[in-house]
């Protein structure tokens, strides 16, 4: 999400509908960009020196696009962009109908203030500016005949002055302030637009990438101020909302704003039951030129301990795979991990894209029919073969295979262990085997932990005959 800077405005022009001639360009800057400059008709703006600065050939064929500049009724008041091979023209056509004021002008005054950019320029930041100018000009015209009035007295600001200043200031300073008269000023500022961020969930954990507390001021949103102090890279959104005593929706929205402006990154809740797996990008750690090695070592070294070697870290990362929890990893590598902050190791790996989190999705499965179950078809009184008991109704809606453990635990405020007990998940391994547990795939091609499969197949032999058999399967992906 890098901001590249605002595109340059190549030209601004003001077009009106003339009742004899049709659509015409009344003012343009720089001169000659839209229609050829003719010094005879506009003596005030030309003298020998300036002629050299004027554009010699128009950059756009105005006649070709005039129907999108002065438009039919359906397009009036809307942002209209039209491109030719090289340039993009953006404007909002305006039509003011007034039988009294425009009696001599056939009851209507139509105009359009247009901005010209490179054809492929990223112009989303300018859209509010173009809209605002159209509104401002319409109001000025209605209130004080700014566009159609007599402008011969030298002190008054004209539309020509306005567009000259607009072009100059927006291109140089990205903002503009033009006083029109005693009661009116045009104020414009360009704001960068970024792409919309992914949505924030209650189980996400925000990590600061900038020093928010020092940037904070009393003018900031109250909720935002309250939660910033609790963003520590460990607490989930829900926990932050609880600690800061704010509504969860507002906390989520505040985090979304911070994400939009690139102040935070979202990671997972750090739990020893988490499972991670490596990505090919982990090889970057071995590349000395990338600078990643120093960064990693700096970040993960426990204070007061000697820094680990890069091969140590690499080996730890490679120990992460499907089926191995963090607890398992630590147990195996206790000696090698003494000087390492494991949480930071994981955070570093996730943020840099070296490893990814494997989520655990519980799914209620009908063993008898092996039909797939959706949110609407979940039974209300199924007996879970894993536990031999009924399923807690609170849990039922989460068992369609679309909700992982983090989400369920955050919503229901329980720990993964409690959830395991509820759903009847057991593993047969207390010690981590050197080889990964045999991985099987179910019909959907997702990896299924063998451990839970064994539980289910045991209970199939206890079929009842009349009722459908249900069990909870666990999918890791």
């Amino acid at each position: 999400m890098e901001f590249q800077g605002f595109p340059r405005i190549h030209s601004i022009f003001f077009a009106v509908f003339d009742n004899e001639k049709g659509p015409v360009v009344q003012h343009q800057v720089p001169e000659g960009t839209i229609v050829p400059h003719s010094p005879e008709t506009d003596p005030s703006s030309s003298n020998g020196l300036n002629d050299a600065l004027f554009c010699t050939k128009p950059i756009i064929d105005f006649e070709a696009i005039s129907e999108y500049i002065i438009t039919k009724e359906q397009l009036n008041g809307r942002l209209v962009s039209v491109c030719n091979n090289n340039y993009k023209v953006m404007g909002v056509p305006v039509c003011i109908t007034d039988h009294v004021r425009y009696k001599k002008l056939r009851n209507e005054y139509r105009f359009n203030l247009c901005f010209v950019f490179e054809r492929d320029a990223e112009t989303s930041s300018y859209e509010p500016i173009v809209q605002k100018m159209a509104t401002v000009l319409e109001v000025l015209e209605r209130e004080s005949d700014f566009l159609t009035g007599d402008t011969t007295n030298s002190g008054a600001v004209t539309i020509q002055n306005v567009i000259e200043q607009l072009l100059e200031d927006l291109n140089s300073y990205c903002e503009c302030q033009i006083p029109i008269n005693d009661s009116n000023t045009i104020n414009l500022k360009l704001f960068p637009t970024y792409p919309n961020p992914t949505s924030v969930q209650n189980y996400h954990v925000p990590v600061c990438t900038v020093d928010l507390s020092s940037m904070m001021s009393i003018n900031w949103d109250i909720t935002l101020c309250k939660i910033i102090n609790h963003i520590n890279g460990i607490s989930s959104v829900r926990k932050i909302a609880d600690k800061a005593n704010v509504k969860i929706e507002w906390a989520r929205q505040s985090i979304e704003h911070l994400l939009y402006y690139g102040c935070i990154i979202l990671i997972d809740i750090y739990q020893f039951s988490n499972i991670y797996s490596i990505k090919p990008e982990v090889m970057q750690l071995l590349d000395e030129k990338s600078g990643l090695q120093e960064e990693c070592i700096d970040y993960v070294t426990l204070p007061g301990h000697s820094p680990p070697t890069i091969s140590q870290l690499f080996k730890l990362y490679c120990g992460l795979q499907h089926g191995i929890t963090l607890k398992g990893l630590i147990t195996t590598n206790r000696e090698q991990a003494e000087n390492i902050d494991l949480r930071r190791l994981i955070t570093f790996g996730v943020i840099k894209g070296l490893i990814y989190r494997v989520y655990k999705y519980p799914m209620l499965v009908n063993l008898t029919t092996s039909a797939s179950v959706s949110a609407e078809t979940l039974p209300s009184n199924a007996i879970n073969q894993n536990t031999g008991g009924p399923i807690d109704p609170q849990l039922l809606s989460f068992l369609d295979g679309n909700h992982h453990y983090d989400e369920i635990c955050t919503e229901l405020r329980c720990s993964p262990k409690e959830l395991d007990e509820q759903l009847g998940y057991t593993t047969n391994f207390d010690s981590v085997p050197k080889q990964p547990a045999g991985l099987d795939t179910n019909d959907a091609g997702d990896a299924v932990s063998v451990g839970s499969r064994a539980v289910i197949s045991d209970s199939v032999s206890n079929t009842n005959g009349n009722m459908d058999l249900w069990a909870v399967r666990f999918v890791f992906r």
């Binding site: 509908f17 009742n19 004899e20 049709g22 006649e63 009724e73 039988h99 056939r106 209507e108």
Partner: protein, 288 residues
Amino acid sequence: MSTGRVSTGLQFIGSPKQVGQKASLKGFQRFLSSEFRPSPKSIIMKKKVLLMGKSGSGKTSMRSIIFSNYIARDTRRLGATIDVEHSNLKFLGNLTLNLWDCGGQEAFMENYFTSQRDHIFKNVEVLIYVFDVESRDVERDMHYYQSCLEAIMANSREAKIFCLVHKMDLVQEHQRDRMYEERVNELKTRSEPLKIKTFRTSIWDETLYAAWSTIVHALIPNIRTLESHLNNFCSICDADEVVLFERSTFLVIANAARINHVDAHRFEKISNIIKQFNLGCRQVSNRS
């Protein structure tokens, strides 16, 4: 005077004098129903009509009065036409007038004769060209008119051409005939070898209806059959005259007469009067 109602929107005023004429009245109604019943989409006839002329000459005003039930005074509030405005006007059940009201500003006119030439001038049944009698730049008007004719000759050779010398009410009464004659001669000369029909019009009197009735009359496909039947009907029921008006526009479609009437302009006068009356009634019922 008895009025008959035909479901297709025709209203006719005739005076059957004898018994037994009811039978022929019914027969005629049946004929009209069959001639003008709404057709399935495949055989709907669409006729393209171009309405052109300099900007501000009165094209949109005329169209609004005839087809959109404006009164003359309301046309003062109309704005300029941007480029071409299309309207599809259903007429007599199976006929559709595809009316192209072309804005007359210079930029648009240039366009019509260059990049849009084929699009505008192909398949045209009728070209109506409107001249503002008060125009200061007659030479330029003629130039555009001739460009139109060239385009018509190239694309729709068989199109019928009507020239309306409009806004006659702005000319002093004693000068009207002379001005009109001058214009007509000029136009006829410039239009060679094409044949044109000319009218003098104003939105403030019945001349508007005379012109447009004739124009529409030229568009009706089976007009000859209709006229001969109307003649028969007229003689059978011994009527002095039978006139057929289209119900919503009140334009005269056809007439049959057995006596000579003094006032040659009676039809458009009737059109005008009845139209005003209808609009007046509508306003009253809207208010109450």
